[in-house]
């Protein structure tokens, strides 16, 4: 069920209405049923994967939890008889037991993700290597469709099992409640990746109905539809044309493609998240924000703190930190400091962990080399700018640009340019081709002609709509810096509110790209 389909809108209306009508105690059960229906729509087999992750995570987290309780009870019961050393040894032993359970749980789940997502990628690479060594043998690909949203819900359940291991959350005893946490339908398709301690209590304990909260949710959904239907879907064909016909659209068109893609991706992704968060909000559930005006970022590092936030913090909390403060890394740090000196030695663990995290981030986005190069490209830029910090300090001590509007605007543009350039890897999906296309920008090949510009499939009306819509989104983002825009509109007199929201609805209704679409040319008079 696509977010922008009639069936989703119908589904949403029914779910929101019924959710508030049924008794509070039954609401979580209803949400689980709705989530299962929603996921079932995307394919029956998909349910098996989510069931597998729910069952395994449920079992292992409960085993971990039980061990924890056992440890506490044992120590409490034998408080007097145990010496400090004995107690410590016992604790260590139990901890390693729990660690094994956790590792098993993670291996099963990440393993499942890896199999569906990366098997063909691995086979492809093995085949390339074999070809390189002149072997005629090759492995055939497996026939598997990556289940919708699996990267998201597996990250969510794995994060949960680590939280239970760390003692941050206690394991839920009710497998159905846990299933709801894993499958909560609004975030199933594209995140955000929620944390158990944040989301679960809201799912299980429904709030009292508050029209303000629910209407705010509906408003946010509408805003999401605006971004997706009016802007993103309108630009989609142009972006696809530029990418797929790269022999025609090179040079200056690569830059245009970068700009179009930046707008399209932003509107598509943040619009989708608006629909997700808005849906949850209409049910009285607060999800974590996933974007905070990312294109206003002044550095790439800041960008990654403001774009796809829940993914970034997931990688930081569950990969970057454990990795960089692991015993191995700390020892590595110590030894490299001794051997390479303080300055370089200090960097070794951080750099190693950073590289690993960005490699993983890359491959998480897609199982092909272009995503890995994209991840590592981000990593390189981040590390270089980290190293350039002393230079910037020196630069700012010599000049007075720091803090000026012009300088900030320059940094914002520069960051957007870096982000967009790296994204070319995501566009062309092929590393050498990406470099070729990027190089073509400087070679001045490719010219804008009426013909190839027209072949992008957008009319002047479309460009007009896109420009106006982007201005609206930009202005809304500016206003948003000083607090919730919906809250500001809420304070307006009734008819002011009415005009804004009904106006936005009409804009989506008329200027949205949806439906079969009328074209007089379809009425060519032929045989009937």
């Amino acid at each position: 069920m696509l977010f922008t389909s009639y069936s989703f809108i119908g589904f949403l209306a029914i779910v929101i209405l019924l959710y508030w009508l049924i008794p509070r105690k039954a609401r979580w059960v209803f949400l689980l049923a709705a989530s299962i229906c929603f996921y079932y729509q995307s394919g029956k087999t998909n349910l098996l994967y989510i069931l597998a992750t729910v069952v395994t995570t449920y079992i292992f987290t409960n085993l971990i939890d039980r061990n924890n309780t056992k440890e506490k009870e044992y120590i409490k019961a034998n408080k007097e008889s145990l010496s400090k050393e004995e107690r410590k040894a016992y604790k260590e032993k139990q901890k390693s037991k729990r660690q094994k359970l956790l590792v098993a749980s993670i291996l099963i789940n990440i393993g499942m993700l890896a199999v569906v997502k990366y098997t063909n990628f691995t086979i492809n690479n093995i085949n390339s290597v074999m070809r390189f060594f002149g072997s005629g043998a090759h492995l055939s690909f497996i026939d598997i469709v990556v289940p919708m949203g699996i990267s998201y819900y597996i990250f969510q359940t794995v994060g949960y099992s680590i939280d239970v291991y760390r003692g941050k959350s206690s394991a839920t005893k009710n497998i159905f409640k846990f299933a709801l946490f894993a499958s909560f339908f609004p975030q199933l398709v594209q995140g955000p990746i929620s944390r158990y301690d944040d989301l679960a209590p809201q799912l299980y304990e429904s709030r009292k109905f508050d029209w303000k909260v629910t209407s705010f949710g509906l408003q946010r959904i509408l805003w999401g539809f605006f971004k997706k239907l009016v802007v993103a879907d309108r630009l989609l064909t142009a972006v696809q044309t530029i990418i797929s016909k790269n022999d025609v659209y090179s040079g200056i068109y690569v830059l245009i493609g970068m700009l179009f893609y930046a707008i399209e991706l932003y509107c598509d992704f943040t619009g989708g998240i608006d629909i997700t968060i808005g849906t949850a909000e209409a049910l009285g559930i607060n999800l974590k924000e996933n974007f905070i005006r990312p294109y206003f970022s002044k550095t790439l590092k800041e960008f990654w703190n403001r774009w796809h936030i829940t993914m970034g913090t997931w990688f930081t909390d569950y990969i970057f930190y454990p990795l960089s403060v692991s015993k191995f890394m700390l020892n590595l740090s110590r030894s490299s400091r001794q051997k390479l000196g303080d300055k370089i030695g200090k960097r070794v663990p951080v750099y190693t962990a950073t590289i690993i995290v960005w490699f993983t981030t890359g491959i998480w986005h897609g199982s092909s080399w272009n995503f890995i190069v994209w991840g590592l490209g981000n990593c390189v830029v981040l590390l270089i700018s980290q190293e350039l910090e002393p230079f910037y300090k020196w630069f700012h001590s010599k000049t007075k640009v720091q803090g000026t509007r012009i300088w900030d605007a320059f940094r914002v543009c520069r960051t957007l340019l870096i982000v967009s350039t790296l994204r070319l890897l995501d566009c062309y999906r092929n590393v050498p081709l990406t470099f070729r296309m990027f190089a073509s920008i400087f070679k001045n090949s490719g010219e804008i002609t009426a013909k190839n510009w027209g072949a992008l499939g957008l009319t002047n009306f479309d460009y007009g709509v896109i420009i106006v819509a982007v201005i609206i989104i930009f202005v809304v983002s500016l206003i948003q810096r000083s607090g919730s825009v919906r809250e500001k509109i809420y304070k307006l007199p009734y008819w002011g509110k009415f005009c804004i929201w009904f106006g936005l609805f009409l804009i989506v209704l008329i200027f949205g790209q949806y439906g079969i679409g009328f074209s007089a040319s379809q009425f060519i008079y032929n045989q009937f």
């Binding site: 008329i510 009328f518 009425f523």
Partner: protein, 354 residues
Amino acid sequence: MKAKTIKTILRLTASIIVVAFVLSFLTLLLKPKFMTGITEGAMIAEFYKEEMCHDVVFVGDCELYENISPITLWENYGISSYIRGSAQQLIWQSYYLMEDTLRYETPQVFVFNVLSMKYAEPQKETYNRMTIDGMRWSMSKVNSIKASMTEDEHFIDYVFPILRFHSRWSELTNEDLEYLFTKDKVAHNGYYMRVDTLPVTSIPEARPLADYALSTNCWDYLNKMLSLCRKNNIELVLVKAPSLFPIWYDEWEQQIEAYASKNNLKYYNLLEDSDIIGINWSTDTYDGGLHLNLSGATKNSIYLGKLLQEECGVSDHRGDPYYESIWSSKIDFYYASIEEQKIKYGITDSKDDE
């Protein structure tokens, strides 16, 4: 009631009225008007403005509404008739148009053109819209939509046509403003007139089919038509209009003939009779044999009218002041249209005399 509650209710009511008003206005604005160019799209809706006194109602596709002229039937036989035709009208759409017609009047004869027996499944969304959008809401319309929808269509698009036509905002013309609330008459009791000529030069060869059996789906609807007619004491007449193309296969002809004789129905194959009718394929068609022009349609109507009167007993209402008053204005409009079209297509009268 407290003042606050009253205020809220008033506000809500006012809001709903504003929303309904704006949405209706936009729907009217964005819906295609079919007043120029492809005027066939406006024909189905025109029926409801009629004085409901038709003895013969034709249902079917372009082979009816371009090949038969009710004005000629009136002028020559005093037959009061109407064509509920639309582009690529499929058999279930014809059936539901019959049902729809019965909500307003009960004719003596329903004439159905059998070409659409060849289409077992929904064909084109745009033609669906041209046939269905003009219908007034009733269960017949609902059922017609359900039977006609192609795979990417949604029922809701018919309920709220703005969902379908919203993207016309960039194609709006003066026509959309001019015909916002009122429509011009485009057809002559459902007849789509053309006075120009494009002779038949070649007929595409009939390609053999893998299976000539007309589909059960179509037979079901034909049976439904028959029982609907019997229930209402209406005679069902089947025709095959004189169009050279699309090909009407002999195998199909045999099946229809067998059905007609089994059910004791009249079936007139006007294509076979085209020599008797006197169709001249170099002067009587405007698109190389697909459809007849005015000259062809007139000849065809004279032939068919005779059959309707003599074999089906359809009355001659000429001389009846009630009918005369209805038809006289129709006749004026008819001849005005002929003149208009002659200018449009640059036809001089001398050429017409041959």
